[in-house]
Subunit: 197 residues, 2 copies
């Protein structure tokens, strides 16, 4: 809190600010996320932040990007359904209710600051590790004979993330029952319905 007089600089200061921003996002959410509070928490002041990020949305995205938990290993439980449930659950944890609130809030601001929209979109639509995880899970299911061989278009690879995010954005919550619905009523049927080309 009352750090002594040592004046931090450069990367050290930047990390402290992002830590503070992340903590604020977790505690109060994006709607109540203020630049002033972040500055105070980091023991610095607003101009220091505005020298590094153009506006509060970019600050939030930067903090998010740095602190977002990793996906971890590709689930391998021996069965397609449980692999998918594990994956969907992890996506849910990673997305988190705070996260979708942030997506909504940042998107809303993106219409005033168009460059923010591009930044966010790139984070939303290109999580390579995730799409590769989906591909691997499906390939193993095909190898086991659980699924007929199939062609997976990019949109189907992205679908798990889209489904979970949509649920968060519209309902601000996500429990186990909903995850099962997404897997059983949407994604598994989708995979069964895809064929080779």
């Amino acid at each position: 809190m009352s750090e002594p007089k040592s004046r931090r600089r450069g990367a050290e200061l930047e990390r402290a600010i992002l830590d503070a921003a992340w903590a604020e996002l977790r505690e109060v959410g994006y709607a109540r996320f203020t630049v002033e509070a972040v500055a105070a928490r980091a023991g610095t002041s607003k101009p220091v932040l505005y020298r590094r990020w153009k506006n509060r949305a970019e600050l939030a995205v930067a903090a998010w990007q740095q602190r977002m938990p990793a996906f971890g290993d590709v689930p391998d439980t021996g069965a397609l359904r449980s692999d998918l449930l594990t994956l969907f659950t992890r996506i849910g944890l990673r997305t988190g209710s705070m996260m979708s609130e942030m997506v909504a809030g940042v998107m809303a601001e993106a219409f005033r600051h168009p460059e923010v929209a591009d930044l966010l979109r790139s984070r939303l639509t290109q999580p390579m590790p995730l799409t590769e995880a989906v591909r691997e899970i499906v390939e193993r299911a095909v190898a086991r004979g659980e699924l007929a061989p199939l062609h997976l278009p990019p949109r189907a690879l992205r679908a798990p993330l889209d489904l979970v995010r949509n649920e968060y954005i519209t309902c601000q919550a996500l429990d186990g029952a909903v995850l099962e619905e997404l897997v059983d009523d949407i994604y598994l049927p989708l995979l069964r319905g895809l064929r080779l080309d």
Copy 2:
């Protein structure tokens, strides 16, 4: 513009306000949608609006609800794919780029005013006419023999709307190619993969 001195009341005034709000939403979008501008445009003043709606989000949702174009008849082109394309296109028109901007903006505010979240959620997840349209299209396809008989869970009925909305929210745009992808790569395979129970 410079209406005479006649002082409108009740329903007449309310309609004029919602007209003004709708016009503002179309012209400047939700991000720049201000209560003051709506009041000015309607030739009245802020307190009149705040007597009717708790905050700007509810005003926007009210205007949206009243002016949202109808879905029209259930498409019946004689083939499943073209029925779905027609339906998806109409959903896209109805949603509109402005609309998803509003969804994002309103959702962002919903975290300060929880009652707004409920209001919006009810508009997003229960468009009965749409789900019934999906059901009818699918039933006709089954009758024609295009699809095997299947059980359609609620989430699958909602999926077309969810898919289109997700695309708008993440990409702020939606063209014909994307609509075809949603139909060919996601929704048609999903329908083919669903079975009885």
